[in-house]
């Protein structure tokens, strides 16, 4: 069968909402896009543990510490589900890790911003996880089966992340003047980077909508970003705080919030490696991997030894 026919059959399956599974025929570009996207998603989960891990030892109470550990542990799990999903497309775990460490593969730029105060644990949960959830809910219906299944599992776990973040801020917003100020400052710092998480404006790229046609994605960046802004603009009222955008205003005609211009120069500069923490994040990942090497080797040697012993017995 000529490739064109395979592609046609493939597209028919997608159009019929059939999922694509690992051993099915798929266009090369479909495989590559999925590998790139799923592995970047996995890297984001793993690197995303760093800004929060930073506060585990300094959480203000035992309860908050336990919650934060549980959340960070969830993110490690998310990374694993996603690496496994990407591996089904034929890229090895080692290759993926190496691409992360060399800087070839990206992770969400949001994690290149520092977590400066305890309030940041609240803002990250509410805004950063909140933004990620909108993307992930959409991806539960993505066309590649293993990715969609990983997303379903992840979404079940994510809602606790956003809720605990909001609750952390809620407590601060009802606290002393100092705590209120800390809460507002944190929202001010995380708001714009959260909006950047959705990626460039749709008008930035006029070319083919292949990811939509293949149903890898089902909503555009601008659609997801607008959903997010509409949600947060309402929720912030409960906190009695403000979002740092004087253009933010309900538009009765559009039935959406209007908002100000995002600093895209900052976005691309952080993507290219010049954010406040890019170097630190990569250095932390490389160090963890290198220092874990002897453990990985020892575990393997131990397993071999045990296998020999059971054979002998």
């Amino acid at each position: 069968m000529p490739v064109q026919d395979f592609e046609q059959l493939f597209q028919q399956k997608i159009d019929a909402e059939d999922k694509i599974e690992p051993k099915d025929w798929m266009p090369d570009a479909y495989r590559k896009t999925n590998i790139r996207q799923i592995s970047q998603h996995a890297h984001s989960e793993i690197v995303g543990m760093l800004p929060e891990g930073n506060w585990i030892s300094r959480a203000p109470s035992l309860k908050r510490k336990a919650i934060l550990i549980a959340k960070v542990q969830d993110e490690a799990g998310h990374g694993l589900y996603l690496y496994s999903a990407a591996e089904t497309l034929g890229m090895s775990r080692e290759e993926m890790i190496n691409d992360l460490h060399s800087g070839k593969a990206k992770y969400s730029s949001i994690f290149n911003y520092p977590s400066l105060t305890w309030a940041d644990m609240g803002a990250i949960g509410w805004l950063v996880d909140g933004a990620a959830i909108l993307n992930q809910v959409m991806l539960c219906r993505t066309s590649y089966g293993p990715y969609a299944r990983a997303m379903v599992r992840i979404c079940k776990e994510e809602s606790f992340h956003q809720r605990q973040g909001f609750e952390t801020l809620l407590v601060l917003s009802r606290g002393t003047d100092e705590q209120k100020a800390m809460c507002q400052d944190s929202i001010n710092r995380w708001w714009w980077p959260s909006l950047m998480m959705f990626g460039p404006k749709d008008s930035e790229s006029t070319n083919s909508d292949q990811s939509m046609k293949w149903k890898i994605k089902r909503k555009t960046n601008d659609e997801l970003r607008q959903n997010f802004i509409d949600m947060i603009a309402e929720q912030i009222k409960v906190l009695g705080m403000t979002l740092p955008d004087d253009k933010l205003k309900w538009n009765e005609e559009r039935k959406h919030y209007d908002f100000g211009e995002i600093d895209w120069d900052e976005f691309w500069s952080v993507v290219k490696g010049n954010g406040p923490c890019n170097k630190q994040r990569l250095a932390a990942r490389r160090k963890a991997h290198e220092e874990g090497q002897w453990v990985r080797e020892a575990a393997m040697a131990f397993a071999e030894k045990r296998k020999l012993k059971t054979k002998a017995a």
Binding site: A29, R36, Q40, G199, V271, E290, M300
Partner: protein, 122 residues
């Protein structure tokens, strides 16, 4: 149709050429832990169901990792692990021939039989 380039920059999908990068090489691991498939029984009385996969040095570690990765919220009461290389799978390209024998045997379904109303709950 065969030459499709994806240039649109979607959420969480930054193309490589936009990214910078360096020549850093991860040191080669002399050993790569094998891949395991994980099956979880969520409740007594139910089947084990495929949950996902993970890397581990041996079966015991695979079970312990599976507990941490797939049952953090009491999603399971029993775990099976099997090294992925031992799984044999049917070929999707042969699905047509493989399942063809079942297609025309509609009499295997209860709905094939038209019964009078009095006994139709059968």
């Amino acid at each position: 149709m065969t030459h499709t380039f994806i240039k649109k920059l979607y959420y969480g999908d930054i193309p490589e050429e936009k990214g910078g990068g360096s020549n850093y090489q991860t040191k080669d691991d002399s050993t790569t832990w094998p891949l395991w498939e994980v099956f979880i029984r969520s409740k007594q009385g139910l089947d084990h169901k495929h949950a996902g996969s993970l890397h581990a040095a041996d079966a015991q570690m695979a079970i312990e990792n599976a507990r941490d990765v797939y049952t953090r919220r009491m999603e399971g009461v029993s775990i099976w692990v099997v090294e992925s290389k031992y799984i044999n799978a049917s070929n999707p390209e042969e699905a047509g021939e493989l399942y063809e024998p079942a297609i025309d045997k509609i009499y295997r379904h209860p709905t094939f039989y038209q019964l009078p109303d009095e006994v139709n709950h059968m």
